[in-house]
Amino acid sequence: MYQYDAIDQRLVDERVAQFRDQTRRFLSGALSEDDFRPLRLQNGLYIQRFAPMLRVAIPYGLLSSRQLRALAYIARKWDRGYGHFSTRQNIQYNWPKLEDVPDILAHLASVQMHAIQTSGNCIRNTTTDHLAGIAPDEIVDPLLWCELVRQWSTFHPEFAYLPRKFKIAVSGAAQDRAAIQVHDIGLQALRDEGGAVGFRVLVGGGLGRTPIIGTVIREFLPWPQLLNYLDAILRVYNRYGRRDNKYKARIKILVKELTPAVFREQVDAEWAHLKDGPGTLTGAEVSRIGGRFTRPQYQKLDALSVQCTQALAREPGFARWAGRNVHAHKVPGYAAVTLSLKKTGVPPGDATAEQMDAVAGLADRYSFGELRVSHEQNLILSDVKQSDLFAVWQEAKALGLATPNIGLISNIIACPGGDFCSLANAKSIPVAEAIQRRFDDLDYQHDIGELDLNISGCMNSCGHHHVGHIGILGVDKQGAEFYQVSIGGAQGNASSLGKVIGPSFAQDEVPGVIEKLIETYLARRDGDAERFIDVVRRIGIEPFKEQVYGNAHQKREARERQLATA
């Protein structure tokens, strides 16, 4: 965990005081709704369908048991007893009262947390790999760099009123688990031949209305230049990003309109002035920040625990869970454990206050009091002894958090959708639940194998449907809720955007459509090792379309061609 120093704490406390005063002025009528809106948004507060929604940052996904207990306390005292973990390492509360928000923020500040810049047209919470610092394939631990970016972006005076929101993600591993190709800026930490750290810099990726994979504009940025280079990118964007149309205001549109090569030239021209200036990072600062992270005091253990191996042989349920929800750790004898928030019948990413308290207890007993939040909306115990895995499984099972579905079809990523969000065209949660019910048989799920299914309730794509192997998008068709299905999207190193298979479906048709897609895959796959996404890449989307629509669409297209030529 990063430990605040006196200044970090003071700034967060001062933010609470500032927002308390702004809220007071709004409630007294001294500040208009229009003038208050950007201020409340920069403190994570939306006005939603039923009530305000408060989005709290979990910077780079790192959470202590004490902080999780505070989140549970907030859920109980000021909300309805639960919270929703989002796809960007945040937690959202759907039912706070506007006048209580300053007190909620004060409570967060007391455990070194905040809701600063979790919304609004500013630099948002920096996200990273949920296995940062513990993954065996890690090249550079991204956590300290994330904290440096957090400090740089917090109350950055020049970039508080950007054309649109701005999201940065950092990966330090061989395998990208932070979706850096679909962020406004993606940073891939690397090492040069001498071992020095640097960053491959991608810009202009993003989902939403115009999904685009980011472009590399610098192959290796030496670490001392990190903040100068970010300043240069943001300044070009702040000055030239479009402000005439909110749907064209993200940096991806600027990069596309200028072309990445020209955008890069502009950034380099700006950087030439900032390079080696006062914003250049120092070794002293990097060590100081590194030293403020507490690190688990690992024991020297055997690589494979005997107890664990025996339990795996004895208990098929445990073995199945271990196969999906337990991840390799760089320290021998340890593992990371995903506690699934994707149990059928529970909205994806939701956790009750009781579950949060219980998970905090698990973290204290089994994981040095630390845990992670993943962008797939699950919780992770990051440092569990292999010899404790069986006990963790039993406890997690009792809490309803041991669904062995990580990487499988029922580990659905979904936004809150039309049940809560005022932007949504359609509901997400009931669709997720209907699919989970359709595929409730775990043996069948395991047979289908690795499959990412993502659902967004609208174009804003909070549920990342573009990068789901199967993506579902809620659309509005003459006032009715319909769902468009795409296939072939992927996150990670080989990121790709899904292709729409055809006309959209009514809500109750969706599980049947997914079933047909799966049947097509199972019939066409070249053995268990070929995943759904691999088959889509190999054979294209036509066979899937045919299975779903019959050949009706071909007939229609042929007729349209005839009419067009007639």
Binding site: L31, W152, F155, Y161, R235, N238, R239
Partner: protein
């Protein structure tokens, strides 16, 4: 009439701001007095403006106007202002930093347009030292906004060394 704050204190304003006409036509040049003119008028009539019998000349920039366009004229100017059509249009923050840090403007830099209390802290950090506050804002209360935060992480015009460099020097 907007209230002027200069160097964190209420101040009197000697400047008359000229705006283009509704059809985009340039305003007439007053014979005397301090005048704050749109960039276009400065570009078309700088000799006429500077040749007046009395009064200083200032230029105000719209959000899209590049401060590089007046970088060679700074010695002739008595004031530069940056216009915020809405406070959420943040281009002027970059304009201000460039004027201060890149082009070396040392004189008064004024925020005009939709300028409110809750933006004063950031505006002052990027180099504004004068603010024409919107009508109806409690000026005395607004002055407290300069103290909203007692520290800042980043490099800024008012304090070029970022926090991490000042820590290193034992200055925090």
């Amino acid at each position: 009439m907007a209230t002027l704050i200069r160097n964190a204190k209420p101040a009197n304003d000697s400047w008359q701001r000229l705006d283009p006409a509704a059809d985009g036509g340039l305003p007439a040049i007053p014979a005397q007095g301090d005048v704050l003119v749109p960039l276009k008028l400065w570009q078309s009539s700088s000799s006429a403006l500077l040749g007046r019998s009395s009064g200083r000349v200032g230029v105000w920039l719209a959000p899209h106007e590049d401060p590089a366009l007046i970088a060679d004229s700074l010695d002739a100017l008595g004031l530069i202002a940056v216009h915020f059509p809405q406070f959420a249009d943040g281009r002027g923050y970059s304009t201000a930093r460039l004027l201060r840090e890149r082009y070396g403007w040392k004189g008064e830099l004024r925020a005009i347009g939709d300028v409110q209390r809750d933006q004063l802290f950031y505006l002052s950090r990027v180099g504004f030292d004068a603010f024409e506050l919107n009508d109806g804002i409690d000026t005395q209360a607004a002055l407290s906004a300069f103290g909203d935060f007692s520290e800042a992480y980043q490099s800024s015009v008012e304090r070029p060394l970022p926090l991490f460099r000042r820590r290193g020097a034992g200055a925090v």
